[in-house]
Symmetry: D2
């Protein structure tokens, strides 16, 4: 399946960037859960465009309208549906891109797959704009998890040459992520912003990585083999445009590691089995061990850049160039932080729903 996710909950994402509306349906949610709409709106604002001088100036309100599933502020047990109207649709901008695909975008693959019938305007269904409905679903799941004592926090780990501290460098109890710029070490915020400004001035873009931690999870969540915590987080995280890598714990350093150092030794603390380190990112055999689940997603540079790029005119077969017009984010990473949290929240809440012993904690 394509735009569907979930084993116990069922999430469906729909819409094209410049169509009438984008939205989501979310089925399988228990009745009687409250939704804090103000909190949801604040969460969604974190991914909204137009927040920085260099960011795309499209001012989309992104206020979801709930069509079903919520009555008097509580889930009623039937599918939740919410939409966001697209108000700023300028399809004329994109007409020539159907013939001359932009490098790094899905223009060419969509053209091949859909035979020219795809909605090319604004990237259509492939647009990063589709992460807004993901944040509607994920923002609610995040609230419901918090009510169970499960918290999800992501921060920018790297942008270009600038790196933040890793969660492993700080204590889980004090994951203190900056409000204005989501980093653990406030001193790198300015450096990262400078790096972004720099590439922006060069009509270029830059990638980065986001580290996410899920704390408060009980041990025993997840299934062996294809139903493991890694598998299910990976399945949704790779649904976020521009994610090209994903590792759990210190997975990126696993290739040079030795077992004696990589294995997380067990200890006991206040009667609770725990580990001295967390190289495995809280997951062994696909199942949580009670330590924070930690993963990192690698984000490629925004494909839209102001520089001229080589492409092929699909109609004439001639090599030509394309320049991406308009203003685009030179670095999508800051706005992707809540999206990563949203995706993680959906994956975790889905697993929680499949685990009756954990639900009892709720």
């Amino acid at each position: 399946m394509s735009s569907f996710y979930g084993e116990n909950l069922k999430l469906s994402i729909f819409g094209q960037s410049h169509g009438p509306a984008i939205g989501m349906t979310l089925d399988g949610i228990p009745a009687g859960l409250s939704v804090d709409f103000d909190k949801l709106q604040s969460f969604m604002a974190l991914r909204a465009p137009g927040q920085h001088s260099y960011s795309t100036p499209r001012k989309e309100a992104d206020v979801p309208e709930f069509l079903s599933g919520i009555v008097d502020g509580c889930t009623c047990g039937s599918p939740i549906a919410a939409i966001i109207r697209n108000t700023n649709t300028r399809s004329g901008d994109y007409n020539n891109l159907r013939d001359c695909p932009r490098p790094g975008h899905a223009d060419y693959t969509a053209q091949v797959k859909y035979g020219g019938f795809q909605d090319a305007a604004g990237g259509g269904h492939f647009s990063g704009r589709l992460t807004a409905p993901l944040c509607i679903a994920g923002g609610m799941c995040k609230q419901w998890l918090e009510n169970m004592g499960i918290r999800i926090a992501a921060h920018i780990l790297q942008i270009g040459s600038v790196s933040d501290l890793s969660f492993n460098a700080v204590k889980p109890q004090i994951y203190d992520i900056g409000l204005n710029f989501p980093v653990l070490d406030d001193t790198v915020a300015k450096l990262m912003q400078e790096e972004i400004s720099h590439v922006w001035q060069a009509k270029d873009s830059i990638g980065g990585s986001i580290e996410c931690a899920i704390t408060g999870l009980p041990a025993g969540l997840g299934e062996p083999m294809f139903g493991g915590v890694e598998n299910r987080i990976a399945q949704i995280i790779y649904g976020i445009p521009a994610v090209k890598g994903l590792w759990f714990g210190d997975g990126i350093r696993a290739p040079e590691a030795r077992g004696s150092a990589y294995n997380d030794a067990y200890t006991i603390h206040n009667g609770q089995v725990t580990t001295l380190t967390n190289h495995n990112g809280g997951i062994l055999g696909g199942i949580t061990n009670g330590m924070p689940v930690v993963f990192t997603a690698a984000i490629k540079p925004t494909p839209s850049i102001g520089q001229s790029q080589q492409t092929v005119n699909l109609k004439t077969g001639e090599i030509t160039t394309v320049e991406v017009k308009g203003r685009h984010d030179p670095c999508i990473v800051p706005r992707a932080v809540p999206v990563i949290e949203a995706a993680a929240a959906i994956a975790v809440y889905d697993m929680i729903l499949g685990n009756s012993s954990v639900q009892k904690r709720g």
Copy 2:
């Protein structure tokens, strides 16, 4: 779900390391496909233990017995089932591990999840031995893909401090992987083997990474969002024990990359649209662009090491130590190469089955 995989084909893996048998069922395969059993056996031999001086000496024949789905060497359209009997089961070795979980293994998480009812012997369902039935299914899918002109080739990219060339450094036409030791650059084979010998003598283990390329894929395979090629490969690759990281193309370098360098410019060659580079690993928007699909899996060091490690006695709550008895692979990476290929083959064949336009090429 846990030990099931697939949208169009349906793979089920069952068995415990020291139970009567391990096996797989594979449903949804078209009728009339031939299976070359000798070739399958050769493929499975690549992951068999006991091939190297330092490898575990358990000599498992690993000859699958097919129970259904194949008649006169051809698929008959009904589910394929095959099993491998476990002949070398010494469950006595593992009794104390139920109480004192080995660091880095799934002993503790299985104990929490299954409340002590898990089959602890030999790692039970979490054992790397379960990759043998994965290789039965994957070995067949690999053959069927080859008959369509789609080839899957993996090699060791890194073990500890020794690195092989990347596929990006060579031309896709000449993926020439060593037969005795699966590397592109034969000169690193000896260095890697020395690295393994070295950690083995130190009663330690070491991780590594495996790079895999899928060539011959048409453009247009995969679905947007959660059904993308990355998502579906990730879902199965993370089902292989010890995989802790996964990236596509140059995904690991995406965080420091600039768009002007990372975007793969289009060109045209013999009337075929192609790209000058392949940083995106053959996938844009979750959909193949006709370039080789390339991914790398990071493998953690084998958790079983001869050194004494700290653990907790779950019965008494006391901190204690555990030493893993028996001989174990100090580096699982060489044996994991065919497993990665098998998993990739299953994922790709599943996507092919869902794409009627591609099937016509078959």
Copy 3:
């Protein structure tokens, strides 16, 4: 899983009877299929209320608004979403029904399942109104099937004591269903309408049955065991409120039949293998044999009746009575005919999508 259907296409239905809107998302549809909106509107009008003197007078426009998935009248490959705003919501009517469940409705079961958080107004998600989005999806699938030469036609087989001819009594070539009242034998139309008027005057309701035929299907569609044509039609047909029975071909008479009479003997006609009779309803071993697929759904009487009925006050535990206010259809069967067709169209189109050899016919 609950409000989702499909193996290859993915249908999601959402909304409550008196909420802001009802709707559907439909994913997995190939790009480039045209939709005739006028034809779709005409199809949806067949289930609209307020068509008969005795029918519920709520005049719902039921004009779907398409939010995504269709560009310039053609599918674009991304999920199709459409909604219908609810304009006639009178939630005040239903407040007391939360405490005193109406017999035959889902009031009580929803109360138990959702703990009082369900949207009780108008039956909420259980309302027959939710068949409107089913008709959006099914109406489109029906059009796409017709373009392949596959036709779906349903008629009222029985209402109370009045029965229409069965499809088996006429030749498949001349399925000639009345436009004003969907019966094969026009002479029974008036009798059925009289039966409905009669029970309506008695403040009662009446059930019926609907027979549906799918012609033009190739042999070889469907899968053995749980993926059979019967299984998949049953799974969606039982999603229509009030359906309490379903049989294929002469299934209802199978218990008294003998094999010598029930087996459909093969013959050959214009080089095409066919059967002399169609007792098996076009399906053997779950797979189509090229004859029309014929099934009959039994519809229970509308639970809403003007008579006083015994119920229990769930708050006080006392036995009491309830009278269903407002005007309700005394017989839902005529309006259910397009709904049965819609459900059949969705099931068949889903199977077609999974069968590449059949798609080539399209």
Copy 4:
């Protein structure tokens, strides 16, 4: 999908009638559930052939061998796999049936679907023999449900002209089904057996129906629309060969019923809400109401009959006749009773697993 079933548990059935073995895998079962193998064997014996003078004399032991998932008589949390070896395979008997399909069997549809590659011997994957692994899975689920106080009981409702009492005619507390012949009213047992003997002497076969009740279910089980109790029972029941009809409660009489009589009025008994009648078969809106879930499956006459039947030679295109050799059950209904129970048990246990509030009762 085809030979897979389940939302929370995952059942896979494999094997061909005359292949090496038939079997099943069952995933998603909690750890720590005991299995009474003697009880399971007794249950499986109820469907074994060769029990009656007129029944097929093939004496298949049908003793399952468990390959995984059960340790020391308890589930261990990993997938359960069990196989039954086929000992009595006489493939020579069936060679000519590939060309001349038997009326009423899946020979022709399999030939079209699998292009001649199907395993034609003994009906291959379409054989009623595949209900043996269904009984392995279902027999275990039945035991686990009984441990929760949920009982499943089926009886022959009709064979030809002879009918048993319906469950609605007796009190749920005293479902007293005959041990030797599964009927409620012992006096009809002899009549049914005579009916079978009669058709057997006429080289014919006869159909029948089986009524099944599930008692002890809590209210609130099941989901609206496509995930209802009816949908999910239908999906598995139609996986049993020869089932051609299915209705819930008094569904077969719904078409002539009036709402005033068909609605089940609520009452209260010992503080428990219940209904005075059970015309709806314990299900409203797809959700259990606490009354017994009652359904009836219509079984067509065994297609194999000794009489000569018209068919077509697919190679030559000529009309010819076929006589089914060997001894076959003239009525499959008695042996299908445990199969219906097994299927119901699997469906119900699957729903129980998805319902955490119900699991707490267990």
